[in-house]
Subunit: 152 residues, 3 copies
Amino acid sequence: MSLKTEELFSLENPVFRAYLFYNSVLVLKMMSMSALTSFIRIRNKAFANPEDAVMYKRKPITNESVERVRRAHQNDLENIQIYFVAAFSYLMTSPSPWLAKTLFLTFTAARIAYTLVYAVVVVPQPARFLACFVGYAITGYMALQGAVHFLA
Amino acid sequence: MSLKTEELFSLENPVFRAYLFYNSVLVLKMMSMSALTSFIRIRNKAFANPEDAVMYKRKPITNESVERVRRAHQNDLENIQIYFVAAFSYLMTSPSPWLAKTLFLTFTAARIAYTLVYAVVVVPQPARFLACFVGYAITGYMALQGAVHFLA
Amino acid sequence: MSLKTEELFSLENPVFRAYLFYNSVLVLKMMSMSALTSFIRIRNKAFANPEDAVMYKRKPITNESVERVRRAHQNDLENIQIYFVAAFSYLMTSPSPWLAKTLFLTFTAARIAYTLVYAVVVVPQPARFLACFVGYAITGYMALQGAVHFLA
């Protein structure tokens, strides 16, 4: 069963609505990383720029707690932004609504779990590996579906 | 007043046209960061890769002027790319055209101001904080609208 | 010749299909950078996090091979993600199908070449510069077309 484009791109299409909803949630989740970085920088008085450090009468330093949050944020940039693109192509392949919505939800939950075990409470491996892998596998599946579907 | 999808996604829709216009401007703005980094690397003869440094008979080094531009560029990656996604969801909520166009324009102006006070002429805080905050608040508002509008 | 929006956003439109196809390929290409980074981290036993290093009875260290792959990945984040946005605006300007498909293909090929000469087999300059420049010029052309087309 293949929907026409105007049906795919319709706010009547529950997959498109779910895409827009989870995208918004993921954006808010990524924004929380910027806020968390600022918070940890101030708590540790560890700033990257002289004009920031001077407000606390400090010099710029690096701090492991700050670097950890930054790595978690960087991992979001590396993984979530390609998900937005892969999910857009996947959406256009007329996927099963149930499967598509489950993948969007699982991806979002895995990325929130990833942040928690990486940057909030450090949990020993393989917790972080598993959370990252679930998101990675979903993005890969969607991109592969898109590549196969729109080949030639 | 809620528009139908085919009206939202139409080139007759001034909000969609504004979205496409400001996206293009923001892409050009982000591209200028790559050019600026290359320029400052060459001026300071500070290269990250041995195969680049060897052309100037140097070894790879890090340089604070280069690192500053790189941090400004990284901040673009962290903030502008989620804006593209948040604004897309927001666009689909049938926002007031006046408000939507004002938010797109303000976001773009704030990000250009951010680059100027961070990487071109270093202005004491809170100039950079304010420019960053305006963009952050707009992205958050749009993502929140999208999340609420498309929730189940 | 200008197409109507519903024709541009149609799966009958070969440019839109090509956009979705090359986006999927580029996502898979970017995902390969994460896999490559993990592989090189393990081969060099060079981990950024204590909880990863401890599995190999090591301390976190930085390693030049890892840093090189990370710079190549970062360059993808800086260049490919703005391409997705620029190409979306460009798509809506009713470009010549032949030109649009050629630009998408050339961009994808240039970015794959970039990774090969940067992170797989290190080739002396200007190989990497040229591969990067081709992708940069294409993104710039598309963003400029979008900005001009949707101005006012």
